[in-house]
Symmetry: C2
Subunit: 343 residues, 2 copies
């Protein structure tokens, strides 16, 4: 095993003392980078995701260009429904479509969970390749979608502002919803364990749509499955849970054995820290739209953010994925501001 | 002046003791009603909004069909940009388009605020007509969009999940953004005062997109203008503020002289009540997607909600507009469950 040259990110996850917070950005391997757009013009979405050499190249781009403190594997949360047997289409710039959305108990029963590792072998190969290419420069983050968010796409069949169809399914057929959530959870645990075995240093679980649920419904349809995943993975590597918008559950989330919790920008550091256990790291919470400001303003806002969270037990990040039209120099200003932070 | 036969809603706003909470639903005059769809098939959006007889007929439909405790005028928040001189197009089922979005200080300077009452005379006529037709059965609610939400549409030029363009405008040109927000605020105060003079018993201000702002940015770009509106209107009638998703500002919102604050479903009654002044009424917070459940389940969920909020200082409502595909009997089950509530 290669020793990590920059282990700031893992130290922050473990709660060890660090000289400054580590920094990375959600969707850092993405459309705002001209180098990414070049590959996108040549290869379609699934070619990029399923070709280990391409996934590896894309994963490395922000490490070389921005100098972030962690790499996150280029992939997609919808590889899980695909591995479970669903058709997933991805039209560039249009978002995903799952033409055969789940609607019956028969559909749920038909979902396969026995060949997850085989089906997603290309991800594991991409991880091995990326770890080798990184050569210990920074840690590599693996990830998966949270069961509730995956259910949202499986039922709705596409992206949505409110995922009403998915929520109706949960509210009207809670038993069937739980059957589905359990199957997704099992597949996800298998998948994340395989990612760890292939070499990732940490896993993040993205619950992009959990914030559409009331506190009660979050407990019922999301939290228990996040907990199951965290319990299964935390003995193997640090786990980051990011249930976007579910600020109301921070206290409970801090009791899931997760090493860190991600938060969006719609909460202050003080409000967040007041709810969580002292033994947990917070990750976030820069408004992605603020990266469209002047670099000087970005620097000021980053300083304000770190002043509020403090240097320890904190990972600087955005509160959601970086926007496609952010200038690279602004992304760099964000990263540099964290690196040059002085209290 | 006709005496109100049912003044439960106004009593709850004033904090007077009531035997049960009043109930109405956001977008209650809307697409889930077959009677509304019939008119929609015959008249386009702006014909419905700008013809006082049609607006009146639509406003009354849920009073007759569901028996709610308040009427809300059928109109749209985008009549304000229109009255200020912007073109607003509305394609059925597609959402609004403002083809000449604001982008420069010249655009802001060109917005007119001197003829708001004249431009929106059709609204004032619809109010007078509706008050007469209601004949004191229930109070009539007037409304407007909050300045930040109106700015969102003016800049973005259409609906959006994240309104990044509007937020970029605020963050990159705060001075110009404040000029624009001030103009919208002035126009909105004129408009709401005219609504009161025409007969509405209460006004609600919808900040549908304020939840996209961080707590700091909400203070800067939304709260101060909500406060200005509330200060100007509260001597004339009770004011309800509904900054959707801005749970983090409930304490400050309770100090704006508003009679009530609306909340969505992503917060518990306990969390909300803990933040606000005792002298303020809460309105909400049923998840609109829950109206797609079985009527028996709706009844149970309504009971849980009122148990949590208590009967006093509370107005039962949804946490957002009613969804177009809710069966009318489910909407009725919601209203009846509030009316039949027993502690």
């Amino acid at each position: 095993m290669t020793t990590l040259k920059n282990d700031l990110f893992l130290k922050a996850l473990k709660g060890e003392t660090v000289p400054r917070p580590p920094v990375w950005m959600m969707r850092q391997a993405g459309r705002y980078l001209p180098q990414f757009r070049k590959l996108r013009d040549k290869y379609d979405f699934f070619t990029r995701v399923q070709t280990p050499e391409l996934a590896c190249e894309i994963t490395l781009q922000p490490i070389d260009i921005l100098g972030v403190d962690a790499a996150i594997l280029f992939s997609d949360i919808l590889v899980i429904p695909q591995a479970m047997g669903m058709k997933v289409l991805m039209e560039e710039g249009k978002g995903p479509v799952l033409p055969d959305g789940i609607s019956s108990s028969r559909d749920v029963a038909n979902l396969a969970i026995d060949n997850i590792e085989e089906e997603l072998d290309y991800v594991l190969k991409a991880i091995a390749l990326t770890k080798k290419a990184l050569n210990g420069r920074v840690p590599l983050i693996g990830f998966a979608g949270a069961p509730f968010t995956i259910l949202c796409y499986m039922i709705e069949g596409k992206g949505s502002k409110t995922f009403d169809k998915a929520k109706e399914f949960c509210f009207a057929n809670p038993q069937l919803a739980h059957q589905l959530l359990k199957k997704i959870t099992t597949a996800t645990i298998t998948y994340l364990k395989a990612q760890v075995a292939a070499g990732v240093d940490c896993v993040q679980v993205f619950d992009s749509w959990s914030g559409l649920l009331s506190p009660d419904d979050f407990s019922q349809f999301s939290l228990r499955y996040l907990k199951e995943i965290s319990y299964a993975l935390s003995p193997l590597c640090p786990v980051i849970l990011f249930p976007k918008g579910s600020w109301y559950a921070l206290e409970e989330l801090s009791k899931t054995r997760a090493a860190a919790i991600g938060i969006d920008w719609c909460i202050t550091a003080k409000m967040a820290r007041a709810q969580v256990d002292k033994n947990i790291t917070m990750q976030g919470n820069f408004d992605p739209a603020k990266l469209l400001c002047d670099p000087n303003d970005i620097e000021k806002e980053v300083k304000k953010m770190i002043d509020a969270f403090g240097v320890q037990r904190y990972i600087a990040n955005l509160g959601h994925g970086i926007l496609p039209h952010v200038p690279v120099e602004n992304a760099k200003a964000f990263v540099d501001a964290v690196k040059n932070y002085k209290a």
